[in-house]
Amino acid sequence: MKKLIIPFLLLAALVSAQPSYTGPMPVPPADTRPDTLRRAYHARVDETLDWYLHAIDPAKPLTREQALVKLVRGQDAAAVSQRIIELLSVPQSGDMFWMFPWTAIAFTGRDQLSPEARAAIREAWRTYFPMRGDTENHWVMYYASLFLMTELYPDDPGETWFNGKSSAENHVEAKGFLLHWMDLATTIGQGEFNATHYIGEYAIPMLYLAAWAEDPAMRQRGRMMLDLLMAELADNTLHGVLRGPNARTDDTSVLERWNALATYFSWTMYGHTPPPSGYGGWGIYFAIAAHHYEPPPLFHLIATDREFDREQRDHKRSRRRWRYSDVEMMPVYKTGYIRRDYAVGSYQGGVTDPIQAHVWDVTWREDDPRGVHNTMFSVHPHASARVLQMYFTEYPDWMIDLLASQGKPSYGVPDKILGCSPYEQVFQDLDTVIALYAIPPGENFQRVNGFFSRNLRDVTEDASGWIFARGGNAYLAYRPLAPYTWDELLGYRQLPRGNSGYAWERFRPEGPVDRILVSPHANNGTIVQAASADEFESFEAFQSAMRALPLEFTLEPRPTVKLTTLRGKKVAFTYGETPVVNGQPVDYSRWKLFEGPHLNAGLGSRKITISHGRQHRVLDFNTVTTSDYVTP
């Protein structure tokens, strides 16, 4: 499937010291005055830029990123110009991942580069044919780049652009898509929501629009969309760590929640978690223009204030379905509940992205999340050529077989813990999750995998059927609804890339390993209840409370659970039916675009209010205005 999206694999090859990556856990500043936050933000941006500069080896030619950073710092324009000509003198590749870096260089260097270097960049946009891709993040990168470049060269005829369209034609088309995407995101929700890596693919193009768009409306819209992305990130992170659900994630980030490009943005914006290695790779492309943006102090408060429990409900949508579906985009009803010690998040189940979606989890706070697998969840390891065909235009046979060679090693394996399933339905009420499974005959894997981290403590298989554990300062109770066994979860080690694409081998990591609870039953279910250790006198007291909860369940003919949660809610949930809470069916039709203490918007409104305490920012895409106000 040549059109799958690659993750951000631009790993920095350089390993010189990264102060914040290798240093102690950062402490969010107690001083939240705007100028203090601003200085800290720019210091973090500078750290990223400095790292790239310090990694320059005079004996080696500059990388594209190093050349760009030198332009940002106004250094060695002549040498950089020459290097850019060299970089563009060989066949190009990378599609839209080529477009936005060269857009950044074109704009950053427009007043510094030699005429020859600027001509080389301009010529490359005629001779290199980038593909537009097949996902929204691809298109956002493609069209934001094209929008900006056609503003930089506004009067050029079609023969000077790779696609044969004039600057004016390209500009209109790019604007058309960007407005369409922004409209979708602010009416029925973002498609690739809460992406652990792909957040960069949206944030970087929006930053570039905010920084360089000549059209004042698009410049403003870019800034507003960036505000929305960063406010959502602030709201969805637990001490800087983005947890589930995620429209897109990967085998690493779904376990080590901190280890994601999203963390780079948490660190850059709010400074309350260390950045990932190499500043996430693509992070440099944000840093080079980050001085054109800064998050308002109110976002900082949303990101760092975890003293009050809060529930947030958002409306999102699935990736676009080309076929084998009655709907073009499935509505996604997302729930998040965040407390100081842990967070619980979910959507209602089903396939939002064919490969990399993550439906629900409980993620607990770690004082230092680096290297920690601080999460618990279960999945049905679904793999289906027909479902892949819903989203991709490919033939059925080869996709499952070859996904591993295209960088998705776990898709077709029975013990995978990444992905969603059409046979999983989930309901969450505060910190209780019920996941039900009804896997039809003929499906590849008639099992449910529960993830049990190596970092859990005091894992106890209780005679009651509950499995109790401690994660950080959270108490966790996991109830499998069918018999199970335990397996060690093997890792995926990438082998040298040969002619047949990526190659992998499974391996047992050294030291303690994660385990998966394997429940090989088609009708199945998982209940997870979380609580803070501070709520109970002891772990044993938590266990006693859980044992005492009224619970009835059956798996035949369909999985059904009736449970009184630790919070006193009477929940009834049957696979295929609407969940009922305290006798009232959940009314998904009333789900708003955003609803919670920090983000609020009506479905279809194009107007999002971001709040913390008395401070508010309103992003009104109807009038293309941002307004701040403080309630008296």
């Binding site: 040549k2 059109k3 799958l4 999206i5 690659i6 060989v90 066949p91 190009q92 590749s93 990378g94 599609d95 839209m96 991942f97 044919f129 593909m131 537009r132 891709g133 097949d134 691809h138 298109w139 069209y143 079609g158 023969e159 790779f162 696609n163 044969g164 369209k165 088309e173 790019a174 058309g176 898509f177 369409h180 080309w322 076929r323 084998y324 579906s325 009655d326 709907v327 073009e328 065909q389 235009t393 033939y395 059925p396 046979d397 080869w398 070859l402 060679s405 295209q406 960088g407 002619n499 047949s500 694409g501 990526y502």
Partner: protein
Amino acid sequence: MKLPRLLLPLFGLLAAVATATPAYDFYICANINRNYVIGSKIVTTNGIFQRTDEGGWRHFGYNDTSITAVAFDPRDRNVIYTTALNGLWRSLDGGATWRICNSWDMTEGREVAVDPNAPDHVYVAFTDGIAVSTDRAQTLVRREHGLPERGKFTQTIKVDRTRAGRVLAGCEVGIFLTEDGAESWRRVHATTDTVNDLQQSPHDPNIWVAATQSAGALISRDGGLTWTPLAGVPTERALYNVTFDVTNPDRLAIGSWAHGVLTTEDGGKTWTSRNAGLPENPRVWRVGVDPAGRLYASVFQETLFHSDDFGRTWHPNDLAGSLVNYFFTLPKAAN
């Protein structure tokens, strides 16, 4: 009855078979990037290749791993259309320069077809329907009246060479027919999964064959109005494409990932697996027959193979690591 224009070059092709130098030009659309993923930093040459007189392949046009089909204006071979991930591309100068003809609201072109009886009319199969141009792709509009709101994923589109504006489309939920230049469509055969290929016989324009994902191969003997299964063709796995042999009306070949190459030499009554000499468990992406009767099989990321005895023996051809999406033949260009 007026002789359809496309028959003239076809008769020319048939006559050319006996000549030493082929009187036709043979093109393929090929991807030679193994496991290319969007954004990959792999640089190879992909797209349209023309077979040279020496038997090699000459690349021309833009470099794109995703080209799915090519078509030419029968009046002017410098006018070339391709479908690819970005949509519909057009060249007016023999492939030297190109233009994307669609805007952002159309994507992932699957196939393009030019009406030989109305060559300004270009039909394009897209992932979410069908678009038509009546001005050589200067403008492109959706024409989907009669297609279902859901189920119009269109994998293949072919113009009936006997009549202007008569077009068949292979979609997610069946085969659709228009007889008025796509002003309206009607379903002539229902399927539960995608129709992957449609071909009109070069020998009898009333005969059409379809390759499908889960309904095997279908044949129509009345110009695409009614369809019946071709007995003997397996239905349990997807068939990717089908091709006629222009030199022999009884010969057809089917390409399939699961089944490899299947051929018939009795007009579809019996079918034979022709995989001996191909790599083990050949994952055949496409088959094609050139006007000399040489059968080609593109084995996924292996190489292109050819057979001069309709699949009894195979020989590696060229293009190691390739994946051929399309075969296309034109009468040879005048020097």
